[in-house]
Amino acid sequence: MPLVELYDIRKTYRVGDQEIAALDGVTLSIEAGEFLAIIGPSGSGKSTLMHLLGCLDTPTSGRLVIDGVDISRASNDALSAMRNSKIGFVFQSFNLLPKFDVLRNVELPMVYAGVAAKVRRERAMEAIERVGLMNRLHNTPLQLSGGQCQRVAIARAIVNNPKIVFADEPTGNLDSHTGEAILTLFRELAASGRTIVIVTHDNTIAARLPRRIEMRDGRIRLGVEAQVSNTAPLAPIAKEGA
């Protein structure tokens, strides 16, 4: 059974008396352990798709099942719980809380999960170690570089051990060198078995991922999905990305 299953998902917005279909019948499934890119120009519906996959929104019609939970009609609290325990987010603009230091930022999802303070600290440290920021524990985001901020965000995304991590243009605010390092980190995470979905409009990034889904006008563009097996070796890593 796939980890994520979408069947004929539609999402329409009303603007005045006009109905705009952001998603117009999307059917898709994502297996556990996949590392894939969703690409497409702006307005293609990729952000809407990611919001639905990330349980930030519910579809107008269609069926959306994530890890066995039908979220098409889930309650607001159930969506929160899904986001908290099964989904990790990495944003283009990092979206860290500026008043909290690195440790507290990473602890935050566990606070909402009701994890005890001691366990919280331990797990946060593990995640921070994973992204290589142990020497920045008590710095606030304002004292960190963009790349470091994104690492904190990744640590925060994986700290609750989610089923799937969504990254929305994770390298969009970074220079190419730092962006490459962040991609490498994602690659390492994917290699260790995590399901990762990167939303981007940058074809050079997408081209290196095992699977690509191209969106256009609210639909998946058929025939361009690169069919690469999960077990296939990862695309070569650019040298400067170490």
């Binding site: 919001h51 990330g54 930030l56 929104d57 607001n76 609290d77 929160s80 719980a81 986001r83 908290n84 325990s85 987010f89 944003f91 979206n95 860290l96 809380l97 008043k99 935050l108 999802p109 606070v111 909402y112 999960a113 009701g114 925060r156 609750n160």
Partner: protein
């Protein structure tokens, strides 16, 4: 979400905008301060009035007064002997609900003299019960006793103020055994009452300002004229001169008016009720006894302190109500201030709220966070308000010292503080609701 975490966030927010938070709290601070100050002032006034009431005998004291008989009895009024010692005996025997009966004969403006000093004071002829009914305390010597009454002894018990004025050079002197002249007749001092004063003047005296100093200052024409009128129960107590009622009768009522028939009427008749819960029953009993001794003429009435007591309580209640109303408006304004700032603060943090929602905060987590934050503002504002209130009260005392020092009571503190926290929480509800119903996607996109 963890409550303590919410609290921490609230404190952090307040710490990050100290001045803004202080301005926000100011409304609450002033509201709480005025609420508590008002409570303290009214409590002080009430306490002063209660003290006066207690000093003059308390609620359990009832005066039997003379009143004009009703119209249909006018023609028969001469049949009644009026209030006499016979009433006293009848009441002692026939009204068991009455605890103490104290008759009193008064002479006004009598010359009290010792060597070359003369005072003009009122002199009362009394029975031993006078001590307890009037809530006097003996500082030295003894009270007039039954033997004095029987033997018509020329003994006198004086208030501490009288001693001070007769022996002005020696304020500590207790003139037991000395002889003073009352309208020229020598009486020997056998006892002295303790100095009676309100708690306020007691505190003031202990702080080094004596009543005598105060009085001297006033005589010099000091501006602050509040003290020692003859209607002040403390002044009256301190200037009491009491002799056996029999001595007063034989020395001054018969001798002075030798040609007229001796006036056996007593001027005051005070009772003490043993059980306040049987107040009405006691008065009924007294009425029936006195109706008999007065031969059916209703030429007496009762003067109770209940009305006095009620008027104290009701005036305190009225002051408190209007004061609370004004303080309440101030608190309300403070609350609106908090709401306003919280709304501004969540607008500033829409993105943060979006992030929190995206990583799994439920609506109620966001709601709690905002309410806790505004509650913390109310809490701190309340604490500062209590501090401000104590300062304000000190200032009030400095500016206008009165007899009735404000009293801060524990319930008043709790009520004022509770209001502050309550207003804090209440004013956070709307911003919290607004923040928690933000669409996470919109919030993440904001700014």
């Amino acid at each position: 979400m963890n409550f303590w975490f919410g609290l921490l966030i609230g404190l952090k927010e307040i710490g990050a905008h100290k001045f803004r938070s202080f301005l926000t709290m100011l409304g609450i601070i002033l509201g709480v301060a005025s609420l508590l100050a008002m409570f303290a002032l009214t409590e002080g006034i009430a306490q002063g009035m209660r003290e006066r009431l207690a000093a003059s005998g308390g609620v359990e004291r009832v005066e039997v007064t003379y009143k004009d008989p009703s119209e249909e009895m006018q023609d028969l009024a001469f049949l009644s002997p009026g209030r006499t010692l016979a009433d006293v005996n009848a009441l002692r025997k026939g009204a068991p609900l009455v605890d103490l009966v104290s008759p009193q004969m008064d002479m006004v403006n009598v010359a009290i003299s010792r060597s070359n000093k003369t005072l003009r004071l009122n002199v009362s002829g009394v029975c031993p019960e006078f001590l307890d009914i009037g809530k006097f305390e003996l500082e030295a010597g003894r009270m007039i006793c039954q033997a004095d009454l029987d033997n018509v002894s020329r003994v006198v018990v004086i208030g501490a103020g009288v001693a001070d004025e007769l022996w002005p050079d020696n304020p500590e002197y207790i003139p037991l055994g000395e002889v003073i002249r009352i309208n020229g007749i020598p009486y020997r001092i056998v006892g002295m009452f303790g100095f009676a004063e309100s708690d306020y003047s007691k505190r003031k005296r202990e702080a080094g300002i004596s009543a005598a100093q105060e009085e001297r200052r006033m005589r010099r024409g000091g501006k602050k004229k509040v003290k020692a009128t003859k209607y002040d129960p403390y002044w009256q107590k301190n200037h009491a001169v009491v002799i056996p009622i029999s001595a007063l009768f034989f020395d001054f009522r018969t001798a002075a008016n030798a040609d007229a028939s001796a006036n056996r009427k007593i001027d005051r008749l005070s009772l003490r009720i043993s059980d306040l819960s049987l107040f009405e029953e006691t008065l009924y009993q007294v009425r029936s006894v006195l109706t008999r001794t007065h031969r059916g003429i209703d030429d007496f009435g009762f003067e109770t302190r209940e009305e006095w007591f009620d008027s104290i309580e009701s005036s305190v209640r009225a002051t408190r109500l209007s004061g609370s109303f004004i303080a309440g408006i101030s608190l309300l304004v403070g609350g609106i201030g908090i709401t306003n700032i919280m709304l501004a603060s969540i607008t500033e943090r829409i993105r943060e709220i979006g992030v929190r929602r995206a990583i799994g905060a439920r609506q109620r987590d966001i709601f709690t966070q905002i309410v806790v934050e505004s509650g913390v503002i109310g809490f701190i504002g309340g604490l500062l308000g209590l501090a401000a209130a104590t300062g304000m009260i000190q200032l009030l005392i400095l500016i206008s010292p009165t007899e009735n020092a404000p009293i801060i009571t524990f319930p008043a503190v709790m009520i004022s503080f509770g209001f502050a926290v309550g207003i804090g929480v209440l004013s956070g509800l709307y911003p919290a609701w607004k923040a928690s119903t933000l669409d996470p996607i919109e919030a993440l996109r904001y700014g």
